[in-house]
Point group: C2
Chain length 275, copies 2
């Protein structure tokens, strides 16, 4: 069993040092509770609701900046895998809504969000690379960010690349849902896990920011599509932890004659790529 943590934090926009400290404390606390993988929210050091691109640029940092350094140090000291969201300025000066994967070996992967949400389109350059899948000490970890999860084609790429666990930093804007219903964001994560028979850990944020509210629905889902921890509520910062038998994700069989990946008929899906 591997304990997976989602640290649903409440960053405050622009408070880089304080937010970075908040992530460090959360990583340490999760590790002390036994977590081997710690997932943090999207843009969890900068905050999310930028007034404009120039404000985002002031709050951005490169991969050799202080956030990656801090997370790398903690990943090594605590022997945990850290997956967190970062407002990145890349090597060409473009702003990216990124997620990084770190372990005892340092920075293992950077992913730039490929499907941008709402006003992010005014700030960030979308990534053009598929979700990375990183071989770690605890299993294969895939990564994408928030709205990416709503594209089943994208989730499938991570599964086809062998992800046992998909980690998704998110900032899910609050949206209405009927009484008694789970947020659609959570439902989509459940379906994404089940159609691919992999674990999914989606780490949302909380805390009002410039008037914006959040679903606060962090959730860790098993390969059958059922929550092992969460969904959380937006009421407070909270850390979810779930014990996951990540090897279960290697078995894609669901009947004597069925396997969710082998049953795909990609030769028939080609029309998707020409639209």
């Amino acid at each position: 069993m591997t304990a997976i943590a989602c640290c649903q934090l409440a960053p405050r926009i622009g408070e880089l040092d304080a937010n970075r400290g908040r992530t460090a404390a959360a990583i340490v606390a999760a590790a002390e509770r036994g977590a081997r993988v710690v997932v943090l929210p999207e843009l969890c050091v900068s905050g999310y609701c930028f007034a404009d691109a120039s404000e985002a640029r002031r709050l951005a940092e490169p991969l050799d900046g202080p956030t990656v350094a801090a997370w790398a140090q903690l990943a090594a000291q605590r022997e945990v895998v850290v997956v967190g969201g970062l407002c990145e300025v890349d090597e060409e000066g473009a702003l990216r809504n990124s997620a990084v994967v770190l372990d005892a070996g340092g920075l293992r992967a950077v992913y730039r969000k490929a499907h941008l949400w709402d006003r992010e389109t005014l700030v960030f350059t979308a990534g053009d690379e598929p979700p990375p899948v990183v071989e770690t000490a605890v299993g294969r970890i895939g990564v994408m960010v928030c709205y990416d999860l709503e594209f089943p084609e994208w989730v499938r790429l991570a599964a086809l690349a062998g992800a046992d666990l998909l980690c998704a930093p998110a900032n899910w804007p609050a949206a209405a849902h009927p009484p008694g219903e789970r947020p659609a964001e959570v439902v989509r994560v459940q379906a994404a896990a089940s159609v691919n028979r992999m674990f999914v850990a989606a780490c949302d944020r909380t805390g009002t920011e410039r008037g914006a509210e959040w679903i606060g629905g962090s959730v860790i889902v098993d390969p059958s599509g059922f929550p092992l921890a969460g969904p959380a509520t937006p009421d407070d910062e909270t850390t979810l932890i779930a014990d996951c038998s990540l090897g279960d994700a290697r078995d894609k069989r669901i009947s004597a004659h069925n396997d969710v990946l082998a049953d795909r008929r990609p030769e028939l899906y080609a029309p998707m790529t020409i639209v």
Copy 2:
């Protein structure tokens, strides 16, 4: 508003005339309640749990057989669209797990299940054609069958082809789910609707058949992914009816800058097709 019906029936294997009569009565009753689209379960005239392929062949019929004739007559008389599942013997003698779409114009489309479930692989030839989308008096109706729904690539094809409403005859075998959780089959339908912003009507069956039980989870879901009717329970035959504003499915926008289909990046999804 268009009233959509799912008639969750309990066919009895091999009782062709009785089962056909059951479907006819259900279509009439749904039409009298105002339904303009009536969805029936998968294999709802033959039954599902065939001992072997030769039994399935004895229970199969061609597209010019009595079931399509009966449904076509009712579709014309009652001015409803009928979508139902049929054990078909095709023009080359192959057995197909099919769904047909009929309206006042007669047989509008036949779809042959492309992703076969479990022992269906021993009986049926899988279809090689994408889910059809039929322009009807009430809107554009796409069709697929049961396990097909678990391939988001397949559902996406129907959405890209313009389906306002996806109708899916199903026979969902009973499976365990944690207390308080919806069946994963229902969750996947909810996600399928929401990521494509289309209505989905999945019509399951009920009634013990040769020891097999069913989820009985028929459900009609709106483009936000929330049930308008159902999910049903396996306790009884039941007809769900939901009033759907099918035109809502033409609007794929979900923020000032987002559209669930336009935001796809198919040029990046190509690796899917070469696996």
